[in-house]
Subunit: 424 residues, 2 copies
Amino acid sequence: MSIREDAANMKSVAPYLAASDIEQRNKALELIMDAIKDNSDKIFTANNIDMGEAMKGGVPSAVLKRLKFDEGKLKSVLDGIDMLISLPDPVGRVTLHRQLDEGLELTRVSCPIGVIGVIFEARPDAMIQIATLCIKSGNCAILKGGKETTQTNRVIFSLIKEAVGKVGLPEDCLYQATSHSEIDELLDCYGDVDLIIPRGSNAFVQYIMNNTRIPVMGHADGICHIYVDKAADFDMAIKVITDAKIQYTAACNAVETLLVHKDIAGEFLPVLYKAMNEAGVTLKGDFATRGLIPVEAVGEEGYVEYLDLIASVKVVDSLHAAVEHINRFGSHHTDSIITEDTEAADAFQQLVDSAGVYHNCSTRFADGFRYGFGAEVGISTSKLHARGPVGLEGLVTYKYRLKGQGHIVDDYATGVKSFHFKDI
Amino acid sequence: MSIREDAANMKSVAPYLAASDIEQRNKALELIMDAIKDNSDKIFTANNIDMGEAMKGGVPSAVLKRLKFDEGKLKSVLDGIDMLISLPDPVGRVTLHRQLDEGLELTRVSCPIGVIGVIFEARPDAMIQIATLCIKSGNCAILKGGKETTQTNRVIFSLIKEAVGKVGLPEDCLYQATSHSEIDELLDCYGDVDLIIPRGSNAFVQYIMNNTRIPVMGHADGICHIYVDKAADFDMAIKVITDAKIQYTAACNAVETLLVHKDIAGEFLPVLYKAMNEAGVTLKGDFATRGLIPVEAVGEEGYVEYLDLIASVKVVDSLHAAVEHINRFGSHHTDSIITEDTEAADAFQQLVDSAGVYHNCSTRFADGFRYGFGAEVGISTSKLHARGPVGLEGLVTYKYRLKGQGHIVDDYATGVKSFHFKDI
């Protein structure tokens, strides 16, 4: 079967998965936990094959690190599923209940989005997290993991699919795409697939966004800022910047641009320079910065996402100038202010137009697990629907149910009846 | 100034409008009410000029009816603003408040989307409704009304803009586009404009969707269904179908396709045929329908949106077949079941994948005013963000605020600290 046919079939199946009860969906998650635990050797063996192939192919060490599935990662995915089971059902929540008139009652109820396509990097734990999030939220899913995880994902997916079938959920609610050509087929499934979530490089996400009519949720850029205010605690600033830059440089929530208030730049920049040198981070600066520390100029490409041990530095005249820079040149992902001045912090958190606006902490906290969502299917920098780390709540929509007794609009248009709104 | 420059300016202004307090925004709405009341003669005079031009130009009578601004419409927009003022502030609502660990606190707060472009039909009341919804929700707006309303909208817009300035909100938060060429300029403002809401014909909305990278909210089609179940009350079915078809044929929530259960088709279709004949509605039918009543076949184009005194009729084998037809060929707008069987109603409302799923009432109720939202900026058939009639809630997004005391991720990655999620 092609993805096109599978997606069309899923569209028919989706309303029935959406109607399944939470006990059944949680039971599926429990069986998945058991199956993964009981078959860990089989998963590790498959993962060794993938690792061997990847090493032969000269895959970079950062990718190898993500690809490796070991006892540590096993434990953390099992903990994640456990947490997911404990979370309340995101489906069927009544978010509005209103009598419009005698006998005419409106209810707004949360429901799954329907059929979701997720394309993700070569990480076996991602396959488990994404599949379980989709099951818990009652969504059908087409899953395409990075090709380096082929063997591991095949084992994991078959365990997940078996568990879903055992509890009586429609087995067709999950589909694993395995070849790269299937991505373009998936992008063509407008009308059957409701949402695509791409994870990966900027170029890859841009490609997806430009080549489908299906709504896309995610982010291309992650240009995160830390603004060191004039009332900053320098030690804290250095500690937070170091974490945000080096704890995981390839992450979208790593800091890329440091904005420093002019009143403290002369004192702070040399301290920053020394600390970054020790941490192996290269700084690039604007004109004012270069007058204070010996760094290269920010490149012609401007304040970009380096995903490397490099950061841009810019001196700003005021908090408002920092806000203007972030809103203009940032990617609306996550930005942090370091200050002891709570008024400044409030203004920053109010005015910065990003999914995450932080005070005195590292941008690296932008993550579904760290927010207590159990896991995430991705991080959204769009302002519509879900913003920031996307967990269960971002995987549901809602519908309006209206119950009448033969009510017609003409009676209200002609004044025979009138509305009496009353929230119940 | 071009729209491009205005939009760029609005992007800078938007965070400050978002930070304004609700008293100020409500005060602006009060001043707008007063200004419209006090200057109604000026508005009526301008409207007379527009009406004269439109009549000279041979504009269809349905459009003329929408274009006309009279005492009745004046009263209803004033009532609408009054209701809007009474609604709670959609901005600044805390929808999640969680301690992640000692001293590390996450808050999710609702905030305006930012800069919204709305392109709408030639209705002076639409200009007022949309502008006031945007002000109440703290959004900057670029407004483009139908060209037939040029004179009326010019007067109304200047009154609104003056009121906004009087209360100290940034005057640049509203812009009126007046020429058709500005629509393409607006579509080009990706990065500055956060959302476009087009209202109008299917072809127009499709054009907007296909010609911008800015997210678009709205609907192109409105193919609404009424399913007459085997347990339907025939009188009620006729009454509801008549209302849904003829009360306002040009509306997106008018019914276009009638699905009839096979067990009652022989008895019901002749009754329907007679009633529709009397109401001036032409029916078209599938093969089974044509065996029971003397109607033409449904055209080759299938079950389409007529926006006219025409409806398609199809006989279905079961409720599930009705659901399958609606999910496959509908536009996920609004669909209704007529039945005395509550189990059948529940199943229908659960399984139909539309923004509105109704029981024993007319599809014409799908409307922001009728839902008690005060007004609407449009109706969304998308599953993402807002679905159904879009009022204040659909005009806000949210951001995550995180407050720490120098917290870094490395402490959690290395096990020095661990998360203790606690909702506050």
